[in-house]
């Protein structure tokens, strides 16, 4: 009987091969009391551990095809949601919330003005550019 770390120095290596459902209070308990703790000599011990524990063992699955595909899909989803314009949900929320309609419309109108200003700029440049190139000919 000694007090020392169990598990023969399983120092973090070899991870990533077990997958279990998200932990709850019970999951924590299972992690702890089913495969840790003092085991008394078999000849004085009678185990009454029943059939229900078998279903717990069955939760342990090996990371493989399913895990890989799940991660890939998670990345795929991540990509899509990251590409969404950040302001859009807020804007939609404003439009549907009645009281903010006016404000939203104001913002959209302001945006339109800016766009036309910008277009005006571009027009000016375009007009200048041909002139310049004409001059070069």
């Amino acid at each position: 009987m000694t007090i020392q770390p169990a598990g023969g120095g399983g120092g973090g290596g070899g991870g990533g091969t077990m997958a279990r459902p998200n932990s709850s209070g019970l999951a924590e308990v299972i992690d702890t009391i089913l495969d840790k703790g003092l085991v008394i000599d078999a000849f004085v011990r009678v185990s009454l551990v029943g059939i229900e524990l078998l279903t717990i063992d069955a939760r342990v699955v090996v990371a493989s095809v399913d895990t890989y595909l799940r991660f890939a899909e998670a990345v795929n989803r991540l990509e899509i949601s990251d590409n969404e314009p950040k302001g859009l949900p807020d804007l939609v929320g404003d439009i549907t919330s009645g009281g903010a309609k006016h404000k939203t419309k104001g913002a959209l109108e302001a945006a339109t003005e800016k766009v036309s200003d910008f277009l005006g700029d571009v027009d000016e440049k375009r007009q200048r550019a041909p002139r310049g190139s004409k001059r070069g000919e």
Binding site: G16, T32, I33, L34, L38, D41, L48, T67, Y68
Partner: protein, 267 residues
């Protein structure tokens, strides 16, 4: 529901002569008393009592042997009794499911037969308790980290982007494998970070196997109970450092499940 399926082996075949057995939770110093409201395994929950032999004792319950143990309530009762005890006295937790035939067997075959070992171990545990530090990655955060750091992962992401699963299966497998390996590397690094951060507590450390694909760390430590406040401070500052990246959890005080073992190899 499954009560009757336990009778394939008769109690006699299991070495139990009566219709009841003595369930053993753990070993404690002889001056420990069971609290009157303490309840144990079984349905209805059994009473908890103490079998003493000299300076050591066992926390036990008398239970009927005609039904198997292992319901969630049984598991929790075992853990709660031991963890509650660990907060006030040293305790050697037995693995779930140990039953002896009667109280004489407990005092003679269990306590008397291992007296020296149990006494020495209880002395070592005096004033100490186990805690478990867990960290779990935030999926979005850890995937984003990997995509930034790993060019192959980023390339494969583009390859599968908006394409049906069937048409990109190979790329998805490769991407998933890279992610699994990257998380494993991060886990090793972050687990070491946790262990280093706890060093001041002079703990005994058992790095546990991960129990989830996205575990960042899973570490059991045995420390002086008086340092619990320091432990909480350390875990809190790690949690702040990793905010948005990983979620931290601290469990305990609990019995020293991760640190008790037989000296001689036995199975």
């Amino acid at each position: 529901m499954t009560d009757t399926t336990a009778d394939e082996r008769t109690p006699e075949e299991q070495g139990v002569t009566g219709s009841t057995g003595i369930y053993v939770y753990g070993i404690v110093p002889g001056d420990v008393e069971a609290e009157s409201h303490a309840t144990g395994v079984g349905d209805p929950p059994s009473d908890v009592s103490v079998v003493r032999s000299g300076e050591i004792a066992a926390l036990v319950s008398e239970i009927p042997v005609d039904r198997p143990l292992g319901t969630p309530d049984d598991l929790k009762a075992h853990a709660e009794l031991l963890d509650g005890t660990a907060a006030v006295a040293p305790v050697l937790p037995l693995r779930f499911g140990a039953v002896l035939s009667d109280e004489d067997a407990v005092s003679e075959e269990l306590l008397d037969a291992h007296r020296d070992e149990f006494e020495a171990a209880l002395n070592e545990l005096e004033g100490k308790a186990q805690f478990v530090v867990k960290a779990r990655y935030d999926e979005r955060a850890v995937l984003s980290e990997i995509l930034e750091e790993n060019a192959d992962a980023a390339r494969l992401r583009e390859e599968i982007r908006d394409k049906p699963e069937d048409a990109t299966r190979d790329a998805r497998m490769m991407l998933g494998e890279i992610i699994t390996q990257s998380i494993e590397a991060k886990r090793n690094e972050d687990t070491q970070r946790v262990v280093d951060a706890l060093e001041d507590l002079e703990p005994m450390v058992n790095v546990r196997q991960p129990t989830h694909d996205e575990d960042a760390a899973h570490v059991a430590v045995l420390i002086e109970l008086s340092r619990q406040g320091d432990l909480e401070d350390i875990v809190r500052s790690l949690a702040e450092e990793w905010e948005g990246r990983a979620e931290m959890d601290l469990l305990g005080p609990m019995a020293a499940y991760d640190f008790v073992m037989k000296r001689a190899p036995e199975d």
